[in-house]
C-alpha cells in the first residue's frame, strides 16, 4: 500500500501552480523570439536599404567619373586650341614680303590663297579642282611644317551668296562686322573684288574677299580666311567663316544647297564655342574640380580597401 497517499505526502504539492509558470516561460521565450525576429527584420531591411543606396552611390560615382573624363578631354582640347591659336596670331602679324609678284600678298593675304580664288571665276568645276589641288599642296606642306601651315590651310572657306544683280555694294551679311580696306579689278572678272577685315582687327585675323561670280552675276563669291577669335554681334545668325578649324571648306551653293551648308557651318562653330566655354567654365569652378577629385579619390581608396 502506498503510504504516501494516506499521509498525503505529495512531493509536488502545487502542481496546478506550476502550469502557469510554464506558460510564463513559454510567453517570455516567444516575446524574445519576436524581438529577435523584429531585430532581424529591421536588420535585413537596413541591409536592403544599404545595398540600394550603395548601388545608387556606385552609379553616381560612375557618372561623375565619366564627367571627369569628359572634362579632362575638353581641358586637353582647349589647351591644344590655345597653343594652336598663338602661332596663328604670330604668323598673321608677320608681313609677307618675299614674293611680291602676287598682288594679293601686297594686300596682306597669305601665299596660295589668291591663286585659288582668281582662278575660281573660270567655272565651278575648275574651282573645285583647284581647291582640291590647293588642299593637297597644303597637306604636303603640312607634313613638313605641321604647326603653322596646317593651321593656315584650315582657315579658307568660300561661300556663294545670291544677290540682286543691280546691287553693286558687294556686301555679304554673315553676322559679323567688316571694314573694307581695298578693291580692285581682276583680269578674269569684269566685276571688282572687295577686300574686308574683321572689325575686331588687328586682334581678330579674319579677312574676307567678295567678288561677283563671272559665270553667274547673280551670285557673290565670298572667300573667308582665318578664324574669328570672338563671337559675332549676332552669333545666332551664324558665323559663315566657320570656327570649326576644319580643312579648307568650299560651299557650293549654286545648286540651291547653300542654306544647308550655312547651317552645317553654323552648327559646327556653335559646337566648338560650346566646348570651349564649357571647358573654361569648368576650369574656373575650383569647387567643382576639388569636389570631383575628392569623390573620385575617395572611391579609389574604397576600391583599394576592398
Amino acid at each position: 500500500m502506498d503510504c504516501s497517499s494516506f499521509l498525503d505526502l505529495n512531493t509536488n504539492p502545487f502542481p496546478e501552480k506550476l502550469l502557469p509558470k510554464e506558460e510564463v516561460s513559454v510567453s517570455v521565450s516567444t516575446q524574445l523570439k519576436r524581438k529577435w525576429l523584429e531585430q532581424d527584420e529591421s536588420a535585413s531591411e537596413l541591409r536592403e536599404e544599404l545595398n540600394r543606396v550603395n548601388s545608387e552611390n556606385k552609379l553616381l560615382t560612375e557618372k561623375l567619373a565619366t564627367v571627369y573624363q569628359n572634362y579632362y578631354a575638353l581641358h586637353h582640347h582647349l589647351e591644344k586650341l590655345q597653343s594652336r591659336r598663338s602661332p596663328e596670331i604670330d604668323q598673321t602679324e608677320q608681313p609677307i614680303k618675299k614674293r611680291k609678284q602676287d598682288p594679293d600678298e601686297l594686300l596682306g593675304f597669305p601665299i596660295g590663297l589668291s591663286s585659288g580664288i582668281t582662278e575660281n571665276s573660270s567655272s565651278n568645276e575648275d574651282h573645285h579642282h583647284h581647291q582640291q589641288q590647293h588642299e593637297q599642296k597644303n597637306q604636303l606642306l603640312s607634313c613638313k611644317r605641321p604647326v603653322t601651315d596646317s593651321f593656315n590651310k584650315a582657315k579658307v572657306s568660300t561661300v556663294y551668296v545670291p544677290t540682286d544683280t543691280s546691287d553693286t555694294s558687294l556686301t555679304v551679311k554673315d553676322g559679323f562686322q567688316w571694314r573694307k580696306y581695298g578693291q580692285k579689278v581682276t583680269r578674269d572678272n569684269p566685276s571688282p573684288r572687295a577686300y574686308f577685315r574683321c572689325s575686331f582687327a588687328p586682334s581678330c585675323p579674319v579677312k574676307k574677299k567678295v567678288q561677283r561670280s563671272a559665270e553667274d552675276p547673280s551670285l557673290l563669291v565670298a572667300t573667308y580666311e582665318g578664324t574669328h577669335n570672338h563671337l559675332g554681334p549676332n552669333a545666332s545668325e551664324g558665323d559663315v567663316t566657320s570656327q570649326n578649324g576644319s580643312n579648307t571648306v568650299t560651299l557650293d551653293l549654286v545648286h540651291g544647297n547653300h542654306r544647308l551648308g550655312l547651317e552645317k557651318n553654323e552648327r559646327n562653330s556653335m559646337q566648338e564655342v560650346l566646348v570651349q566655354q564649357m571647358a573654361s567654365s569648368l576650369t574656373k569652378d575650383s569647387k567643382f574640380t576639388a569636389a570631383l577629385a575628392a569623390a573620385i579619390s575617395g572611391r579609389l581608396m574604397e576600391q583599394s580597401r576592398t
Binding site: V53, L64, A235, S236, L274, M278, F288, A291, A295
Partner: protein
Amino acid sequence: PPTSALVEELNRVSAENKKLSEMLTLMCDNYNVLRKQLV
C-alpha cells in the same frame, strides 16, 4: 553586424550619395547656363 553599425553605415553612404547628387546637379546647371548663353 549589429543594427547600430548598419544604421551608421547607411547614414554615411546616404551622405556621400547626397554629395554626389549635388555635384551632378551643379554640373548640369553649368551646362544649362552655357547653353542658354549660346541660344
